[in-house]
Symmetry: C2
Subunit: 181 residues, 2 copies
């Protein structure tokens, strides 16, 4: 593939992710215009609208897997791994703001990859609980779900915070909650 074609491709993907997050029914034409290319150019790279959506979600999964790898969730000390994960995943959530659960219905392969990611993070949270860093009386599914929502919230509703600040905030809230003591 030629270099300019590759550039256009990533531009379309990132623009598409942004617009589709705001409005999941955004048309191919709107994405093409916002990306600064012709509508037919998008169709040349992505055979169908569904193919474009798949590519966007794949890009998010790629980035997420990289973050989990680099966080070393199974080996690093729990507080270190947690913070490294948060600092990595918040920019991913910002770059690919699409809602993962929506698409997963029609793309079984993507769903499997996402399930694998979920399981890795869930295992980390169970280890954190076993090692005494998290409460043992709370369902890990609830812990996992709440952490994910905190990440998305800080990523999209507090865009002025940079990644380290946002990670600090999420970690503090996640561990200590909002109650005075």
């Amino acid at each position: 593939m030629r270099a300019d074609a590759a550039r256009n491709l990533v531009t379309v993907l990132r623009t598409g992710a942004r617009l589709l997050a705001e409005d999941p029914s955004t048309s191919m034409a709107a994405i093409a215009t916002a990306a600064g290319v012709d509508r037919t150019t998008v169709h040349r790279r992505f055979a169908s609208r569904e193919a474009l959506l798949r590519a966007v979600f794949q890009a998010k999964l790629d980035a997420s897997e990289r973050v989990l790898d680099e966080a070393r969730l199974t080996e690093a000390p729990v507080p270190v791994a947690l913070h490294r994960y948060l600092e990595g995943i918040i920019p991913v959530s910002r770059d690919w703001p699409v809602d993962t659960r929506r698409m997963m219905q029609q793309d079984p392969a993507a769903r499997d990859r996402r399930d694998a990611l979920s399981e890795r993070l869930d295992a980390f949270l169970r280890r954190a609980a076993a090692e005494g860093h998290l409460r043992a009386d709370v369902d890990s599914a609830w812990t996992y779900a709440a952490l994910g929502r905190l990440v998305d919230t800080v990523a999209h509703d507090f865009p002025t915070l940079d990644a380290p600040q946002a990670a600090d905030l999420v970690a503090d809230t996640f561990l200590n909650g909002f109650g005075a003591r």
Copy 2:
């Protein structure tokens, strides 16, 4: 309006809310079929698709305002008001699972109503902090956003919990977080 017409109307509204939450691009035809009425019947009640969406969000706002009124956020003791609010708002989130922020763009009147609700809840959270129930070192906007996400998460991802159980879980997590102590 005749009684059967009123019944159909609420059925369409609730069915629409459910389907539109799963997929915001659900067609009027799909909503009509799922609600057990003809497509033209829906069009007789709602002049356009946009009108149907507005009605769904209005219904959610109506229910939310009722909950906030009954929670007596300005008078009741903070722990009581918080629990009463949670126990009321979780069923609302389940009955009207649509994402409020999406629609608010095109409907200024609805956005104003939603802003008023936000302000009431935010004022409650500020009172809670002032009376020593919440940490004073956390931005109330973050507190508000996080609480809202916890509510939505428990409402949709943990449907087996009944409202009181879910409210207990959210209140516990909100106040204490997930860290061991």
